[in-house]
């Protein structure tokens, strides 16, 4: 798919009302149901076990694969290792020929989708029948799965009825129970007649060869029981060392996937059991079953050897990440994914699927981090996505425009800052009050649904010297690192930061040589440019050697914390980066700590109205800061502080994401706007200047009597009369 086609597909899905309805409902229902399912269990402890079990698998991969092979063979099954997708297909087709197989029944296996088994059966003239209801629906609809656990979630009952009608040549009514029973009758016939059953496997135990198959429908039991021959497809990542290793997986997988205690059926296959064979004379006999186990590589060994991406072995395909992904909820798995869906799908596809697709779909990840909160294996999906972007840049280089901007402009501070100042003049013809309402060129889409802020007349760096600071009570010296947005767009926030910190008894300095923190370059994978600005910032800070560096922007904090990574081979800067990493303080948490420590009361701001708070993705999920800003707001607003619905859902800004996918950004913006209006608040506080930009723009464009401010502005106002 080229970019234009991809964009068209996104728009098509954004306008697919049926999918949208199904996904929105699920997105709303799932978190509550999931939480209930985990009652009485320590989720963090469970997922830590899963992580350790799978890390052990990676560490001992070959050893476990050998053990598994020995155990499977000892149990009496035929074992085969497939390197490529072709190996898998060839083995199965050869076996079909030997056994004169005419009809195959399959229970769910992502691996079979991955190697496009159904297509190969078709070409070989063998009838293959999906038995999982969702898989069967998409088989006859000729779709790909749009979700790993619920493959047909994009369709409604009417569409399913239409597909059934076409397939079966019978009249169908759009009644779910009726459709399910039609499927039962139809699929039962196939299961009885089939010569071969194929299934996937959720857990493969090295020490005894046990293979766990989890299903709710019971099709796994039928496909493994009724046909004489059974093939189990096992990916290397399914291996675990000991039998008991299955326990935490059994506890976490159904709860995270569908909010169930356990699937209705768990089959543990330890070897070939029996099969009933009917003879032409009407008699039958009980014979030994033939069991084949195929252990599949298809990129998995390379994945295990990758020092970064081996983390993907911790994925147990529960799809919880997809279930909480705000982008998935908007566009679904046909756009965001390819067989393996969502952000994890993009990553898996890079190794075990279509790597080209992977590059395209990984762009859709908004890196909000919702997935990391629920992942069964504690995988940091957004971080891996960023690693993947970096890897691609190393391979293919940056596209021209960001390359020029990053390498020639932003990494040269005076040029960059002069350009920003010039841009202020250039924007005049588009400016309308505080917002730019129309911009030429590719910015046009960006401003259609959200106003862009104007670059401030006087940047914060030129205001700083005019701020009168009281003498410090506190000996500790603070340096304020503003970041570009506060410096050039929201200088009033910068002012509030400095004045409020001063009111708390600190003297604040602003080293003028500071520049862009490096996030834009780092996120697009341009490590060299990011490193260059990091050096400038470290030097700027070293000139005053502060006790704390306070940053009022979560991505800035994150970036500073990553600086040591850039200088692994440069002892001088590494020492600086580590020294300052420990001195970084995020503004709202620092202030909350100081208010409590110094026992300072905030003045009531209740007369200002009703306040609400928006969680920045990075502030909440990356830095883990969400109680402190609320504590501050509650101190000033007391009962006038209200929570909006989905306070921690991404506002749709996500840096340059809103430029890449303005359509998706708009949808997320719409949802945020709705939540704000519904909250009845007239003041929205945020802890992140990028969120502030997005939300201010939303309110400006879509309306609402709401003021959006950084939490520093609250603190500054509530400390003012204390003078």
């Amino acid at each position: 798919m080229n970019t234009k086609e991809f964009k068209e597909k996104i728009n098509e899905k954004l306008n697919d009302e049926i999918q949208k309805k199904n996904l929105t409902k699920f997105y709303e229902d799932y978190p509550k149901a999931r939480q209930k399912a985990f009652e009485g269990y320590d989720f963090e402890q469970l997922r830590n076990s899963v992580k350790n079990i799978k890390q052990n698998t990676v560490d001992k991969l070959e050893e476990l694969a050998d053990k598994f092979q020995k155990a499977v063979e000892k149990n009496g099954a035929v074992f085969y290792r497939a390197v490529s997708d072709k190996d898998v297909v060839d083995y199965i087709l050869k076996l079909c020929k030997e056994k004169d197989v005419k009809l195959v029944v399959k229970s769910k296996s992502m691996l079979s989708e991955e190697v496009e088994l159904a297509q190969h059966f078709k070409e070989a003239g063998i009838e293959s029948q999906e038995t999982d209801l969702g898989e069967w629906i998409i088989q006859i609809a000729k779709h790909k799965p749009s979700h790993m656990v619920m493959p047909a979630i994009h369709l409604n009952r009417q569409q399913v009825a239409d597909y059934f009608e076409k397939q079966l040549g019978k009249n169908m009514k759009p009644d779910i129970e009726f459709l399910v029973h039609t499927a039962r009758a139809e699929l039962r016939e196939k299961c009885l007649k089939a010569d071969l059953g194929i299934s996937g496997c959720n857990i493969a135990v090295a020490e005894n060869g046990a293979m766990f198959i989890l299903t709710n429908e019971g099709n796994g039991r039928l496909t493994s029981s009724l046909p004489k021959t059974h093939i189990v497809l096992v990916g290397y990542e399914k291996l675990v060392e000991s039998f008991e290793d299955a326990i935490p997986i059994l506890r976490i997988l159904p709860r995270n996937a569908t909010a169930q205690t356990l699937t209705s059926y768990v089959n543990i296959i330890l070897g070939p059991s029996q099969a009933i064979v009917e003879h032409t004379d009407g008699t039958f006999s009980i014979e030994k079953k033939e069991l084949h186990v195929i252990l599949v590589d298809h990129g998995r060994i390379e994945m295990a050897r990758d020092p970064i991406f081996k983390e993907l072995y911790q994925c147990i395909r529960c799809s919880a990440c997809t279930n909480v992904c705000p982008v998935y909820a908007l566009v679904g798995g046909h756009v965001f994914g390819n067989i393996y869906t969502g952000g994890i799908g993009a990553l898996l596809n890079a190794f075990i699927g279509s790597s080209q697709t992977a590059n395209q779909i990984q762009n859709l990840c908004i890196t909000c981090g919702s997935c990391t909160q629920v992942c069964s294996g504690s995988i940091d999906i957004p971080n891996l996505i960023i690693e993947m972007r970096k890897k691609n840049i190393e391979k293919e280089g940056l596209p021209t425009i960001p390359k020029v901007v990053f390498q020639n402009i932003i990494s040269n501070r005076s040029l960059f800052h002069n350009m920003l100042k010039l841009a202020r003049l250039g924007q005049k013809s588009f400016k309308n009050g505080q917002f730019i309402r129309n911009l030429p060129l590719y910015f046009s889409k960006y401003t259609k649904d959200r106003s862009l802020p104007a670059i401030a007349d006087v940047p914060f760096r030129d205001i700083f010297d005019t701020i009168l600071q009281k003498p410090a009570k506190n000996q500790e010296k603070i340096a304020f690192f503003s970041g570009c947005l506060i410096d050039f767009v929201y200088p009033e926030t910068g002012e509030a930061v400095v004045k409020s910190l001063n009111a708390l008894g600190f003297s604040v300095e602003f080293p003028k040589d500071q520049t862009c923190c490096g996030t834009p370059m780092y996120l697009t994978g341009d490590k060299e440019s990011a490193k260059k600005v990091a050096m400038q910032n470290l030097e700027a800070l070293e000139s005053i050697d502060p006790d704390y560096i306070v940053i009022a922007c979560p991505t800035g904090v994150e970036m500073w914390e990553k600086y040591p990574q850039f200088f692994r081979d440069d002892p001088k800067y590494l020492q600086l980066a580590q020294k300052y990493k420990n001195r970084i303080r995020e503004y709202s948490s620092f202030v909350d700590e100081q208010l409590n420590k110094q026992n300072i009361k905030l003045n009531s701001l209740k007369n200002n109205g009703i306040a609400t708070y928006h969680d920045s993705c990075h502030l909440k999920r990356v830095l883990g800061i969400h109680t402190q800003p609320r504590d501050i707001i509650a101190k000033a607003f007391n009962t006038n502080f209200v929570e909006m619905e989905h306070a921690d859902q991404c506002c749709g800004m996500a840096g340059s994401y809103s430029l890449k996918f303005p359509e998706i950004s708009k949808e997320l913006g719409d949802q945020k706007h709705k939540s704000i209006i519904k909250s009845t608040a007239n003041l929205v506080y945020v802890g992140c200047p990028a969120c502030m930009l997005q939300i201010k723009g939303l309110i400006d464009k879509k309306g609402g009597n709401v003021k959006v401010m950084h939490i520093a502005q609250l603190v500054n106002e509530a400390l003012k009369e204390n003078k």
Binding site: L133, H181, G218, Y265, I269, S273
Partner: protein, 194 residues
């Protein structure tokens, strides 16, 4: 052979309640759980047969199942099969089989199903009657896995059954009975102390 090890035996009512709560969770009235002596169980079974207008019953041939079916065997309107081919299994209205033990934590029944027939008994009819000795409830997965591990090499297939066959593949609406039973009735049979 039996998996159950008497060292785990108990008459723990709390475990039974946990089992019942877990196996029924979110599945409406598609699961029934009884804790009773065998004669009461037989009479409940009789009611089920007449309510379902069942004609064909398939069953495993364990001692408990045979004893449970004693009275039904005398009923001439019923066909009861203790073995057969796939089509016999497919035509059955009810399947009756003994489960090795239950797991309270997850509300699961553990079926030792080396025998293909036994597996079809619980997998194919619309109604599955599961019989379990009342003292065979393992508290959690750890206990269950300890029991299973000792016998693992002797069994080719083990199933955990946790409710009827369900799907939510169309619009996420929970629908019962897609491939297997649409109803699961569990009898914990208390020993007759004479």
């Amino acid at each position: 052979m039996q998996l159950w090890n008497n060292k785990f035996s108990n008459n723990d009512l709390e475990a039974l309640h946990t089992f019942e709560k877990k196996v029924k969770a979110g599945k409406g009235d598609s699961v029934e759980v009884y804790f009773t002596d065998i004669s009461t169980a037989r009479s409940i079974f009789k009611d089920i047969i007449s309510k379902q207008q069942a004609k064909n019953i398939i069953a495993d041939s364990s001692g408990l199942t045979r004893s449970f079916l004693e009275e039904s065997l005398l009923d001439e309107s019923l066909n009861i099969y203790f073995d057969g081919d796939k089509y016999t299994a497919n035509a059955a209205d009810i399947g009756v089989s003994e489960m090795e033990f239950a797991i309270a934590e997850s509300g699961s029944l553990v079926e030792l199903s080396d025998s293909i027939w036994k597996r079809l008994v619980s997998a194919m009819p619309s109604l599955h009657i599961a019989l379990v000795c009342a003292d065979r409830i393992a508290k959690d997965f750890e206990t269950a896995f300890e029991i299973l591990k000792k016998h693992i090499l002797d069994v080719a297939q083990i199933s955990f059954i946790t409710g009827p066959s369900i799907t939510a593949d169309i619009e996420r609406v929970l629908t019962i009975g897609v491939h297997g039973p649409s109803k699961l009735v569990v009898f914990f049979i208390k020993e007759n102390k004479q």
